[in-house]
């Protein structure tokens, strides 16, 4: 699934990549580079917006034939303006200004384009999370200079923020990829949550590693659903190590299931009870000692 998302065979509008500080071998940087490489092969133009590292770090590694398809915007140049957080609206961070910046840098033409943002962490740090959600949504819905936006890929450092804040961003994204170091085979695990265009939601865990030329190779994948069942089966059965017998054999189980208890009302028994003939009439035979008065007790009343 990770490779399908990278290559574009699986459609997704907004992809969110989450890493944490323990990912020392493979972090967002490597995945971002791979997306950048694939976007530049797939789309007519790719806009690469850098907030953390200068774009040159990634750009110099790209093969020369794809380099001119990538338009880089170095937001780290403006980072000192972020210090003046009281006057944010005049600065680069606002969604409209980023749009303006993209329009300035992008040559006019037509076709498709992808947008890659190396990190949303500064956005989330300096502005309320709803701003970042709106920012992403706004970017994904407009077209720029005749180019139609196909995909936005953005990274975030998940260990810096509350789960509440991250959930808001995750709701905006159509795919969420969470990277954590994996104990076996020096690989990295990627927990994947993907909303297909049909509405189906896929959850998977994949293990992969990145070789020296920065290519991702998938090792194996597993469905989250199956792992959940496995863990249920792994639970110890409390009746297994007893000195007496609590469990039933198959034949005993069948016999138990066939037996109908006397007061269990199944359909037949209920109908029989309701349609039973006679019953309910009371005959009273007077005793000798009974003092029966034939007179009407209300006779003296003048109604």
């Amino acid at each position: 699934m990770l490779l399908a998302l990278l290559k574009g065979s699986e459609l997704s509008t907004i992809i969110l990549l989450k890493d944490d500080v323990e990912c020392i071998d493979v972090c967002n940087e490597h995945i971002i580079y791979n997306f950048l490489l694939n976007h530049s092969k797939r789309y007519d133009k790719t806009v690469f917006l850098c907030f953390e590292k200068p774009p040159d770090t990634y750009h110099k590694l790209l093969p020369s034939e794809t380099k001119d398809r990538v338009v880089t915007i170095d937001a780290t140049k403006y980072s000192h303006m972020w210090l003046d957080f009281h006057n944010h609206d005049n600065k680069l961070e606002t969604g409209t200004n980023v749009r303006k910046l993209i329009e300035e840098q992008l040559p006019s033409g037509n076709g498709s384009f992808g947008l890659i943002i190396d990190s949303l962490s500064f956005h989330l740090l300096l502005r309320p999370p709803s701003f970042t959600c709106q920012f992403l949504h706004n970017l994904s819905t407009v077209s720029y200079k005749g180019y139609e936006i196909k995909q936005i890929v953005c990274g975030v450092h998940q260990d810096i923020f509350d789960s509440q804040i991250l959930k808001q961003i995750e709701h905006t994204a159509t795919s969420v990829l969470t990277f954590t170091p994996s104990p076996h085979n020096n690989s990295t695990s990627c927990a994947l949550l993907h909303h297909k265009t049909s509405g189906k939601v896929i959850r998977k865990i994949e293990y992969f590693h990145i070789n020296e030329s920065l290519t991702i190779s998938s090792i194996r994948e597993e469905n989250k659903l199956t792992t959940a069942i496995e863990t249920e089966n792994d639970q110890v059965d409390p009746a297994s190590n007893l000195t007496f017998n609590l469990s039933l054999k198959e034949s005993e189980k069948d016999a138990k299931n066939q037996l109908i208890l006397p007061y269990t009302y199944d359909k037949n028994r209920k109908e029989a009870a309701l349609n039973e003939p006679g019953g309910g009439k009371i005959f009273y035979q007077a005793d000798e000692v009974d003092d029966l008065d034939e007179e009407d007790p209300d006779d003296d009343l003048n109604i």
């Binding site: 110099k60 210090l83 957080f85 962490s121 260990d159």
Partner: protein, 282 residues
């Protein structure tokens, strides 16, 4: 930046450990951008340990290697650093006079700013910490640091910017996001001009969420992190703590480097030994 201008100086055990990449590049005579525009983040993993010895070592080491240094001290006076450096064989006073070192005395200026604020006395325009105390804004400090750095780097010499200890700013009311922005801005300025490394130290304030998130963010931004922690087994007079150096696997490098050693801080040097192999234990 011209590395050939830098002086060759004998290196101690801890310098070998911290500057491993840099020394290797210099010995092979291949200046590497990755090494020289590092962001080194030194942090204490718990409150039972003290990481300032790393800052002292790095300050002296950079000065010996011929770097121009801009040092911002927020917790100690110039006198303190000078006396420690003299023990390690560097005279800060003369280097300050020869303009190889710019020492920003945060401790003194902060104190003055607070006093003048309460007494309603106007302070000198040039004070780096005026706006910090009045508006909690780091803009002025940043602008002044950039001016110092550009002056120091004007002759093509490498410049190291050191801030000790950045978490002190949290205590005087600066927001963690502003501190992160300050470090990031300084780092991107140094990288763009290819001037040299940025080194900061942060304390650990236990369960302070602001401090924790700041440390985590800086660990993401840095290229090299040095983590100082006390021994999990408790205090020991022969082993003072554990030091972990981590260079993350960045684009263009193929491997993450992670090394852990234990240390003992002596009067004039720091002894390093492999985990569990101190002479006191063997």
């Amino acid at each position: 930046m011209n590395l050939s201008k830098t002086k060759q100086a004998p290196t101690s055990q801890i310098e070998e450990f911290i500057f491993q990449d840099f020394l290797l590049a210099r010995r092979q005579n291949c200046p590497s951008e990755n090494v020289t525009s590092d962001f080194v983040f030194v942090f204490e993993n718990d409150s039972k340990t003290d990481a300032t010895f790393v800052m002292h070592t790095m300050l002296n080491s950079y000065l010996k290697q011929g770097f121009n240094v801009c040092f911002v001290s927020l917790t100690q006076s110039f006198g303190h650093y000078n006396s420690v450096s003299q023990k390690l064989g560097v005279d800060l006073k003369s280097l300050r006079e020869s303009k190889q070192l710019v020492f920003v005395e945060g401790l003194k200026h902060l104190g003055n700013s607070i006093i003048s604020q309460s007494d309603n006395v106007s302070i000198a325009e040039t004070d780096d910490f005026r706006s910090l105390i009045y508006n909690n804004s780091l803009c002025e400090l940043y602008n002044n640091l950039i001016t110092y750095v550009d002056q120091l780097g004007s002759e093509g010499k490498p410049v190291a910017v050191m801030i000790d200890d950045i978490s002190m700013l949290l205590s005087i009311g600066v927001l963690s996001k502003d501190i992160v922005s300050l470090c990031h801005s300084l780092q991107s300025h140094l990288t763009q001009r290819k001037l040299g490394p940025l080194i900061t130290l942060s304390n650990n304030y236990g369960d302070d969420d602001d401090c924790l998130s700041m440390v985590k963010f800086l660990r993401h931004l840095c290229t090299v992190s040095i983590q100082i922690s006390s021994l999990p087994s408790g205090y020991c007079k022969d082993v003072h703590g554990q030091m972990k150096i981590l260079r993350r696997n960045q684009l263009g490098r193929n491997k993450a480097i992670e090394r852990t050693v234990q240390f003992k801080v002596n009067d004039k040097n720091v002894n390093l030994f492999a985990v569990g192999l101190s002479l006191a234990v063997l």
